[in-house]
């Protein structure tokens, strides 16, 4: 018997809201031996621009690092020990449009894990010495990623492409911005953004639905953290200029043997009716062995590393292709990739193609969500990206409803104009200036 406070049962997912406005989505997996507890917030790098004076780039990520630093009941060491006793895989991530704290635990420990989470979520403490030590850890993390040329090529291309929008800075922030964040700033940001009315709790795995619902109500209903003092949704990502076809090139030479190049462009966001058809197009372009990039770039031996990236946001999505090559082959691979994009733009989408890709996406998705932890993270991400709960069978229905015409339209709209930002680092070929070939429609 489901309680009267439930306002939606969507296929296997039960969604309800507590009086303190905390939303909870539960998906029980019959016979599941593990469970994921994930608390996601409308907070992340996109929200930072609207907060405080001066640069606070990286503050969401710093909050994430400080999250596990103890409560009045438990010291940091005790928090770590308590989760360790459960065999928990404890982690968190900060993205542009949301932040998630999560733990995967054996199902038998879900109740104890929920108690620990409640303590962490409602009794956060920021100790000055721990804050200072953790800032050092974050500065190290920034430098760690700086040592990775493939990561750098991808993030810099995106940041340059979205210059002038809230997507222009890195999630981690910079050495200077992180150094300038004070404990008070962190406290204020944390109080404003990491609130129950700004959050969704997702639990997926082996548990009894009714019992779990009862436990969560008993545990969280009396908990109040401060009401939201921030807009629920991040500021819109509005591109600087109307979309027109051009290539903007940035580079940074480094003493490395190889060249690392990323091409970044924008596509429609999740608020666009053509968003789901776009997923079909994405699967066609990269990354599996059936994809165009694999068949025409990797399989043909142009490079061993050529990855397609797609990060959707509500207003806009960021698409990218990153490749690594010797400097002698950089220009040729870049031109080949442009040829392939032209080929995609000019092709006629067929029903056979759409059907094949629909099967691939669904098979791939089932593989992905076999592990309740992956399913829980996927549901959390979808909640923030699509701004609604979206369980597997709803996704299947959505996927099956995509028509050939939809994909054709999505493709035409996405590639009608190609505003491309190219970023290269490492051993960059001299005098290389990326440009569209004469045959390009752009």
């Amino acid at each position: 018997m489901i309680s009267r406070n439930v306002f939606e049962v969507i296929d296997e997912l039960t969604l309800f809201k507590l009086e303190n406005n905390l939303k909870i989505q539960l998906v029980p997996i019959p016979e599941g031996r593990t469970a994921l507890f994930a608390m996601g917030f409308y907070a992340g790098a996109l929200y930072e621009k609207g907060f405080g004076q001066g640069s606070t780039d990286g503050i969401s990520h710093l909050v994430e690092h400080m999250f596990f630093k103890g409560t009045p009941k438990l010291t940091t060491k005790q928090v770590n020990e308590e989760f360790s006793k459960l065999g928990a895989d404890l982690n968190a991530y900060t993205s542009y449009d949301h932040t998630v704290y999560y733990a995967k635990v054996p199902s038998r420990h879900l109740e104890r894990a929920s108690e620990l989470w409640k303590d962490l979520l409602t009794n956060k403490m920021i100790d000055t010495s721990e804050f200072n030590a953790e800032k050092q850890v974050v500065l190290q993390e920034i430098q760690l990623y700086d040592d990775m040329p493939d990561y750098k090529a991808s993030t810099k291309a995106r940041e340059e492409h979205f210059k002038g929008t809230p997507l222009e800075h890195s999630i981690l922030g910079t050495i200077d911005s992180v150094k300038s964040i004070t404990k008070d700033m962190l406290q204020e940001y944390s109080t404003n953004y990491y609130t129950f009315d700004n959050a969704i709790l997702t639990i997926v795995g082996g548990f009894d639905l009714e019992k779990q619902e009862r436990n969560l109500r008993a545990l969280f209903s009396d908990s109040i953290n401060s009401p939201r003092n921030s807009p629920l949704f991040h500021p819109p990502i509005t591109l600087r200029t109307p979309k027109n076809s051009k290539i903007t090139y940035f580079n940074e030479s480094k003493q490395l043997p190889l060249t690392y190049v990323t091409l970044n462009w924008d596509m429609p966001g999740t608020n666009n009716p053509l968003f789901f058809p776009l997923l079909v197009l994405n699967t066609f372009i990269g990354n599996s062995r059936t994809s165009l990039l694999y068949r025409e770039v990797i399989s043909k031996g142009l490079t061993s590393t050529c990855r397609y990236g797609f990060e959707p946001f509500f207003d806009v999505s960021s698409s990218s292709i990153m490749f690594v090559s010797s400097p002698e082959k950089t220009k040729m691979i870049f031109e080949r990739i442009l040829d392939l994009l032209i080929q995609v733009y000019e092709m006629r989408v067929t029903s056979d193609l759409v059907k094949r890709i629909q099967n691939e996406i669904w098979g791939d998705y089932q593989t992905e969500i076999e592990d309740p932890a992956n399913y829980g993270i996927d549901l959390t991400q979808k909640y923030f990206k699509l701004r609604k709960s979206f369980p597997a069978n709803v996704f299947l229905t959505q996927l099956n409803s995509i028509s050939t015409d939809d994909v054709q339209k999505a493709k035409d709209q996405a590639l009608e104009e190609l505003n491309l930002t190219v970023y290269a680092t490492g051993n960059i070929p001299k005098d290389w200036e990326p440009s569209f070939p004469a045959t390009a429609p752009w």
């Binding site: 997996i29 593990t34 190290q140 061993s304 089932q366 076999e370």
Partner: protein
Amino acid sequence: MQGCIIKSFPNLRTCTLGIVNYHGSAHDTVPGSTQVLLQTLTRGSKNYSEQEIANIIDGTGGSLFSATEKTFSFLGARIQPKFVLKSLDLLIDILTSPNLDPENIEIEKQNLIQVYDQINAHPLRKMLLMEADKAIFGPDHPFGRMVIGNPESLGKIDAQIMKETHSKLIVEPWGLAVGNFPREFRDELIKAFEENFLCLEKKKTEKLKIPSPKLTKNHIITSPINPNGNVYLCLNLTTDVTKKSISLARFSSSVLGESFGSRMFSELREKRGLGYLVGSSLNLVDKFLTIRCYLETSPNRVIEALEALLKIIFDLGLNKIPIKEFRTTRDFILGNLDLSFDNSQMIMSRILNRQIYGLSPNLDESYREIKDVTPKGILDWWKTFRDNGNLSCAVVGNFDENELIGKWESLLNDL
């Protein structure tokens, strides 16, 4: 036939199939040839073209994967349950009757040369994949080199070498299948394994011998690269593998650096803020077991990091683990063992590793092994380790080589 292991779990959505052969990179006469071969196998076989392989596996949302380890290799697929029999047929076909087209061999060879260069330019990956084993086994021993070889050795690979490598690949083969198999289907799967393995039996060859490595005590190797970056440090504790030592080492590795509650995490990251990446892992190669403890830190704190890490490690051989910490670690490992049970590939990987190292493939046994560990057992093992084990160190990144090597020697003397 060495047999097959079929495990059914009712909660799984996928199946993972695998075929193991006791031929790995350490058997390569030309380093990297097994890895090139495994990559080339997926380029087509007698009955399946490359495109058909992609359509059968990837086109249905599955994935084909291969792994070259030092002493064995592995070819597998994670697929939807309804494609199991077809996938098994495909795996056997590409393993026994590959096309080995010279053009594809050249492409895979060039791909691996690029992968080598990418690892070499990435200090963290260089430390873990290239330098750590070199520090333990020496650069000239087959265990000390990377499974993918190096640009020079890869450059020598041609169709003839591939043919020879393929003729030595199928050694004591055995199969694995993990998924949600109803009883009647399990019988069908066993039959399919038996029939398909007859093809493997015909191609079977003798296991090659690998000379024993001579481990050098307190060996340090340094690779200064990336003058503006960080330092990446890996301490390796290597000793002989025995059935009992695996659980003792697993336990020790957890105490050292496998969780947020571990000693390395608490001391190096939480307390001192020395680095973001802090951790330890247990690695098994043939008859050797290594606990790897690694961290990344800034250039001006590398000596502090090295000293602190050495103290943490040495303490395990000096003092018994306090009972509270012992229980927390045991609960962590036991709970953590459960976490792989919702993923067919992870379950298969655990069974595979247990079988390779002579442990029972029954995963329930892994719980018992951990429950049998005692604080005294760990201390005694570490005392033995102090006399017979080997410590080595690999450092990659931005640091003063002379200062570091000098400090390494003086720290070991002091400790």
